[in-house]
């Protein structure tokens, strides 16, 4: 592959993403950042946690995404009585034609390319943890057998931040497995008009699939080839370090209210998302601005506040804002070679 073919690939990438955005936009009004976030998660091979009050179209967004991709989709409504087997699948006794009986594994809803885990915090931790292996390893172990999930595998979970009664907040380990945590904002006036116009009218525009499995896989592969200059990577590292209150880079807010900072997965998410963002923009390398743009969704669920922070009502986004202010974009250091990715 030479630079010209790279240019072609990147252009194609952009076109596909634009097509996808346009198709999604048929159903989803506004929420460009959320849509881009979900697409980014999918292209990075990660999972997204969408948080927002009911009725903002979280489920709709995921459903629309699934419809615009030629991928399998399943939806799991998490309830307190949901069992792990209800997600992963179960082994049943199957009567054969000859009269014999055999055990057969019936796949659960996790066996899909796009899985919507609706209101994920309503299930018990036991059930939530059933997702852990699937999300990280992209495989499911039931009994003595391990079942590999089809690629691409994307879990898009939603949760309601208001109704805390009868919910089970996701454990840190599971939160860390989400590539992004996206806040779904309340739509503005124009967007509300648009929503009403579309949903209260006669015919609802039909969506078509614009990307197939191969295209998505190729795009995921392309993302990984985007190079990152040393100073950009260094910025991502310094931002990550600043989330840890014990480091010198941490701002006062982080030192005061943060109990634990982000894991290295956070830095991985930063760089991957920055690369995807560069490709969205038709560029061939990630920049510091790309990193800065994805810090909030990549790190907000990876920063754990202490009791004082919780009591003071501090949001992790405030901590991230402080970090972005305090960490300089460049720092004097010996020049180092870029790392090809």
């Amino acid at each position: 592959m030479d630079s010209e073919s790279v240019r072609v690939e990147v252009t194609l990438f952009r076109k596909r993403v634009d097509d996808l955005r346009a198709e999604i936009a048929k159903s989803i009004v506004g929420n460009r950042e959320v849509v881009d976030g979900v697409i980014t998660c999918m292209l990075a091979g990660g999972h997204a946690l969408l948080e927002g009050v009911p009725g903002l179209g979280k489920t709709m967004l995921v459903r629309t995404l699934a419809e615009t991709l030629s991928l399998t989709f399943s939806r799991i409504q998490f309830t307190p009585d949901l069992m792990p087997a209800d997600i992963l699948g179960t082994t049943v006794i199957d009567e054969m034609q000859g009269g014999g009986k055999s055990f057969e594994f019936r796949k659960g809803p996790i066996f899909a390319n796009i899985v919507l885990a609706d209101e994920v915090n309503r299930a018990t931790p036991k059930t939530q943890s059933a997702l852990l292996e699937a999300m990280q390893e992209h495989r499911v172990s039931v009994g003595k057998r391990t079942h590999v999930l089809d690629e691409p595998f994307v879990v898009l979970a939603t949760q309601n931040p208001l109704e805390m009664e009868g919910t089970y907040p996701l454990p840190e380990a599971q939160l860390d497995r989400f590539f992004f945590k996206l806040h779904v904002p309340f739509p503005g006036r124009d967007e509300l008009h648009e929503i009403l116009d579309r949903t209260t009218g006669g015919e609802i525009e039909k969506r078509t699939a614009v990307l197939d499995r191969d295209a998505i896989t190729a795009m995921q592969h392309l993302v990984r080839q985007v190079p990152v200059a040393r100073h950009v990577q260094d910025y991502a590292v310094r931002v990550l370090q600043a989330t840890h209150p014990e480091t010198a880079e941490a701002p006062d807010l982080a030192k005061r209210f943060v109990r634990y900072g982000s894991s290295p997965r956070g830095a991985q998410a930063l760089l991957l998302a920055a690369k995807i963002r560069a490709l969205f923009d038709g560029r061939f390398a990630a920049s510091v601005d790309d990193v800065r743009a994805v810090v909030h969704p990549a790190l907000r669920h990876r920063i754990l506040l202490n009791f004082e922070g919780e009591a003071e009502g501090v949001k992790t986004d405030q901590v991230i804002d402080a970090i972005l202010k305090s960490v300089p974009e460049a720092k004097s250091e010996k020049p180092a070679r870029a790392t090809p990715n």
Binding site: V6, P227, A229, A285, A330, R337
Partner: protein, 650 residues
């Protein structure tokens, strides 16, 4: 070179230019701030220089330091390292290239064979964007904002430079001294003494010393001397007094003894010799004149040659012995000096402790001998003429008795002169002692002695009847009841007008005025009615006279008030409060009460007081003469009596 390398080179040059501009901008920003600081310092510096607080050199040094600081700060700001890819990133930021240039430079640093297609594509992308990159626009270098402030400060500095600061003419502070403060009594005492000495017709040098002493006292009285100067003047005067009397009295007396002893051996010179031996110089002079007369009278008669011969031997020995003893002492001194010199040479390289101790002993002996020789020389000078006259008389005895008589007359005159000289020395010694007393007084006024001096002064004022002007009388008489008691005691002596120095003393005045029948506190605290008689005369002013006990003419009650009474009269209707005082009987001895006549009178002035004072003073003087009392304490006693002495005219 490939197109990639050229493109990267171009980007690198652009980045370098951008970095230089960043450095320049930073240096200007820091330099302008430093310039503002330096100008502020310069303004203060010039201000301080103009007001004279800073010297020329200090001001210049500060000015130069501020200037150098600006250059140093600017240079440091230029030289400080920039963040990595700062130039490229600044260009990226301005042209919204999303780190294209910085990333391209980063990828370009990698060898071409390890670059990925994406890297090459990124480099190409950056190269394509490079032509529209303009470092001048990306990093504009203008005058930083602090330059405006710096310009304002320059104007201010210029204005300050033309501003003339009037320096106030330094006010010459006259040096004031802290004069020694001596009580008038002490000064009076010294002046009285000096007057007494002057009346004895002293010699010229004594008179000069007295004049100088008078001047010293006058300067102290007029507060023209501080302590240091006063002590210096006293020391100088004492040196002068000592200079004339350096002759060792003991040495002189020894030599007179020797001459007298020799002269006693001859019958003719025996009276003169005895007088000399007893140091009765006037008698010796008379005896010498007598002998001369006798010799002249004997000139006409046959001469007892044996006696003449005996007298000649005596006179010759008397004259010669002094020289012989001086020679012996000189010889002894020379031997001792040689001995000391040898020992010094010996111990120069470090001798034993014993040797050094011996050397010190010898040196002390040598010093003592030197002092003896000096004393004898001084004494010898005084006796030199007498010796010569006696020797001449001895020689002339063999030739002509008349001549010898003349020589003896001359000798007698020498003795007369010595006598006068001795008198002068005595006066000088007295002057010196007085000077020492004066010095002791001044010494007591030093730190720690002021309180004592103040007490003595207060006592002196009280003794002169001046002490109650500030309510001191109240202290003496206390409240009204107390005043009454004291008054009554006074009343029994017929003294009126006491206790009038303060308001509290008014009761006393009334008590005295009413006299005759007053209540007193008895020894056990009970009140007793006392009938006093002989109250002061009831003059129009109510002044009780000096009427002694029972002797006063007053047959009527006193009326009026003492003219020196201060404040209004006590309201008789104002209630009084009796005070019970319990006497403490310690059982120690008898308490002989003695009436000091006139003690209740203002100023202790009365004939009776003079008599009492004289009695006590004599006893004190006898005790001082008899007992061994340190000089420092003697002065206390003397001063005490000096202060309470009755004054003339009172």
């Amino acid at each position: 070179m490939s197109s990639h390398e050229e493109g990267i080179g171009q980007i690198r040059r652009l980045a370098k230019r951008a970095e230089r501009r960043i450095r320049l901008k930073r240096a200007l920003a820091v330099g302008s701030k430093a310039l503002c600081g330096a100008l502020a310092v310069a303004i203060v510096d010039v201000g301080l220089r103009k007001t004279g607080i800073l010297g020329e050199r200090q001001a210049l040094a500060t000015f130069a330091t501020a200037g150098v600081a600006v250059f140093v700060a600017t240079a440091v700001a230029w030289a400080l390292r920039l963040p990595n890819r700062a130039g490229a990133r600044a260009l990226d930021r301005f042209h919204e290239l999303h780190d294209r240039l910085a990333s391209a430079l980063d990828f370009g640093d990698s060898p071409a064979d390890v670059r990925t297609p994406f890297m090459n594509a990124a480099i190409d992308d950056a190269i394509a964007a490079a032509p529209r990159v303009d470092p001048r626009r990306a990093i504009p270098v203008g005058l930083p904002r602090p330059f405006a402030a710096a310009a304002a400060l320059v104007v201010l500095l210029g204005a300050e430079a033309f501003f003339h600061v009037r320096r106030p003419a330094p006010i010459a502070h006259t040096k004031t001294i802290e004069p020694v403060d001596m009580s008038a009594d002490d000064l009076d005492d010294v002046q009285d003494f000096l007057k007494q000495i002057e009346q004895t017709v002293p010699s010229d040098d004594t008179r000069a010393a007295i004049d100088e002493f008078n001047k010293l006292v006058d300067d102290i009285a007029n507060k023209r001397l501080d302590r240091t100067e006063a002590f210096r003047r006293m020391e100088a005067l004492e040196d002068k007094l000592l200079a004339g009397s350096r002759a060792d009295k003991r040495a002189l007396e020894e030599q007179l003894d020797r001459i007298g002893d020799e002269m006693k051996k001859a019958a003719l010179t025996k009276p003169a010799g005895e007088a000399l031996a007893e140091h009765k110089l006037d008698q010796a002079r008379g005896a010498m004149h007598e002998l001369a007369k006798k010799l002249r009278a004997d000139q006409e008669k046959p001469v007892d040659k044996a006696k003449i011969e005996q007298m000649r031997d005596a006179l010759k020995k008397a004259a010669a012995d002094a020289d012989k003893r001086r020679a012996e002492m000189e010889q002894r001194r020379q031997e001792l000096a040689d001995e000391v010199l040898k020992m010094k040479e010996k111990t120069a390289d470090g001798g034993s402790d014993e040797e050094r101790s011996l050397l010190e002993k010898k040196e002390r002996e040598l010093e003592r001998l030197d002092r003896d020789i000096d004393a004898r020389k001084d004494a010898g000078r005084q006796l030199d003429r007498l010796d010569r006259e006696l020797e001449q008389a001895a020689e002339d005895l063999m030739k002509d008795l008349g001549l010898s008589a003349n020589d003896l007359d001359q000798g007698a005159e020498d003795i007369n002169r010595m006598e006068q000289q001795e008198t002068t020395q005595q006066q000088k010694e007295e002057l010196r002692q007085k000077l020492q007393e004066l010095r002791e007084l001044l010494r007591q006024q030093g730190p720690g002695g002021k309180g004592q001096v103040a007490r003595l002064k207060r006592f002196g004022r009280m003794a002169r009847g001046q002490g109650g002007s500030q309510g001191q009388g109240g202290q003496q008489q206390g409240g009204q009841g107390q005043g009454q008691g004291q008054d009554d005691q006074g009343g029994s002596e017929g003294q009126g007008g006491q206790g009038q120095q303060g308001r509290d003393g008014q009761g006393g005045s009334q008590g005295a005025g009413q006299g005759g029948e007053t209540w007193v506190l008895g020894p056990n605290g009970e009140k007793m009615l006392m009938l006093s008689k002989g109250q002061g005369s009831s003059g129009p002013n109510g002044q009780a006279g000096e009427g002694e006990h029972g002797g006063g003419p007053g047959s009527k009650w006193g009326e009026g008030h003492d003219p020196k009474l201060q404040g209004g009269a006590t309201n008789p209707k104002m209630g009084t409060e009796d005070t019970q005082v319990q006497g403490a009987d310690t059982g120690q001895g008898g308490s002989r009460s003695q009436v000091i006549l006139g003690a209740a009178e203002r100023g202790f002035a009365s004939r009776g007081y003079k008599r009492v004072y004289t009695e006590y003073h004599q006893v004190a003087e006898q005790s001082l003469a008899k007992d061994e009392i340190p000089a420092g304490f003697r002065s206390y006693v003397k001063r005490y009596f000096q202060l309470i002495r009755p004054r003339e005219g009172q």
